[in-house]
Amino acid sequence: MADLTQRLFGTQWQSPVLLASGTCGYGEEYAELIPLDEIGGIVTKAVSLEPRSGNPPHRVSETPGGMINAIGLQNVGLAAFIREKLPWLRDNLVRARVLINVVGHTEDEFEAVVAGLDGEDGFLGFEINVSCPNVKDGTLFGTDPAGLAGLVATLRRATARPLVVKLTPNVPDIGLYARICEENGADGLSTINTFPGMLIDVGKRRPVIGNVSGGVSGPAILPMGVYLTWRARQSSSLPILGIGGIRSSDDALQYILAGASLVQIGTALFVDPEVAVAVHRGVEAYCTESETPLRELVGGVQIPDRD
């Protein structure tokens, strides 16, 4: 039997497959479609200090091989999240792990969310979203080395829980940002968030997306995500959660071989919720056939000698 378990972030993971932030709400809606407690876990929709109302429609549209979204981080805010969403996660996800995706306009706001959640039950740790292209300042921390260093250091002081930083692909060298996270006390990295994109309705001569631009996700970005995961892995020894365009176990294994310990599935859930389980099973079959425990595959891509 294949061994898919890993010890990461101070806990046991039964599966490498998580659902990505913003594509699975706070878990509940998928509860009857996906056996959530049998996969690795979920990353919640972003939680901000105050509720956010989000962007005007259209908020989503298909793009070639993917989709674009500009939700604008619409969410109920910290207080309502604790009151209305966290209890369900606590009661229903026991073997699966929960990361809470956190956003803020300022360092203080990030800190307030992390500190406000730290004492609660029902989740493992945080995924810090410094990489949302769909709100003003969304990638501010993610593209500014000094800002990122300061933010991570501050949040490190605010919590002893696992702190994963979700990086933006939108930089010349993701390795720099990976190192900054590591040096300032982060426990892990998520690579990657969406790419800024725009669609224009040429009939109306207007942007399709209400917010004008949005973030591109889905299969279209798979090779970029695999590359950036591999780059991040070259530059840091933090465990990585690989994200971007995954819709099959082959895709997931590319991330794993590139250096991801865990993977997240986003857009593909909209196409078929069963993809989460299918990816888990496919990775399991691969480990069985190659008689290799999952953890030994992580980063296992063989790079040929260059001449």
Binding site: S53, S61, E62, S248
Partner: protein
């Protein structure tokens, strides 16, 4: 609320119903057995391919019943619907449904359905059900031109109701907008489904005359089940609310209408 069903359904039949418009019957007893008029299904082709429709597309359930197929009225609009229109008997599509809120019809007053274009779809289902219960349905149905009109024989065959047809150029049925068919003074409850400008006009009229109105709205969707927040419309109080779970059918008073 019942959980939606995920089902690979076979195309039992796809036939041309009008210009760029198709009637599709899908074998999905489970979804057919649960769907209510006004609800929709997400129709996709699975994760193995990435050509449009990569994301599943929402379609109103156009007809359904226990042990029956799910009927869809499909109009070619962009790349995704064009590809779906190329499906053939025996092909399979991935369905998620039934989703969203249905129309609510009370037994004590007859309904008037106002359909613009493929906004007709939910009313086929609704009319058929109401007729089976022996109730009266008035079905106003507007299209731009005659070649777009879903055959009125087929509508009668499917529903037992003869539609009152309007075309903008008068090439079929009455000439004019479907709006012209509404008799504000004597209508009981209005149900409307169609393009946003039409819904706005109907809403104005309903408000003006104090008529109860339910509308089915159309917004781009990601998940169809309430997780992505992609499908929002503006509520009467100015909030963005999800049309996939709180709609697509809303009491017109719940929404904000441009004045």
């Amino acid at each position: 609320m019942n959980a939606p069903i995920r089902d690979w359904a076979e195309v039992r039949e796809i036939r041309r119903a009008a210009d760029e418009t198709w009637w599709v019957e899908l074998d999905s007893p489970a979804i057919a057995g649960r769907a209510r008029p006004g609800q929709f299904v997400m129709v996709g082709l699975g994760v193995e391919q990435v050509a449009a429709p990569f994301l599943p597309r929402p379609f109103s359930v156009g007809l359904a019943g226990p042990d029956r197929t799910v009927g869809l009225l499909l109009r070619e609009f962009g790349a995704g619907t064009r590809r779906l229109a190329r499906l053939r008997d025996g092909d399979r599509v991935l369905l998620l449904g039934p989703l969203g809120q249905a129309f609510s019809v009370s037994s004590d007053r007859p309904v008037v359905c106002i359909a613009g274009g493929v906004g007709l779809a939910p009313f086929l289902f609704l009319a058929a059900e109401q007729r089976k219960l022996g109730r009266q349905v008035r079905l106003l149905y507007g299209e731009r031109t005659a070649d777009r009109v879903f055959s009125s024989e087929l509508i009668e065959e499917l529903t037992g109701v003869a539609p009152i047809i309007y075309t903008e150029d008068g090439s079929a049925g009455h000439q004019g907008l479907v709006l012209a068919g509404i008799r504000p003074e004597e209508e009981p409850a209005l149900l409307a489904c169609g393009p946003t400008p039409m819904l706005q006009a109907v809403a104005r009229l309903a408000i003006e005359h104090g008529l109860p109105l339910q509308v089915s709205v159309e917004e781009h969707m990601g998940c169809g089940i309430g997780t992505c927040q992609g499908c929002v419309v503006r509520s009467a109080s100015g909030e963005w609310i999800k049309s996939c779970t709180e709609g697509p059918v809303f009491d017109a008073r719940e929404l904000s209408w441009p004045t």
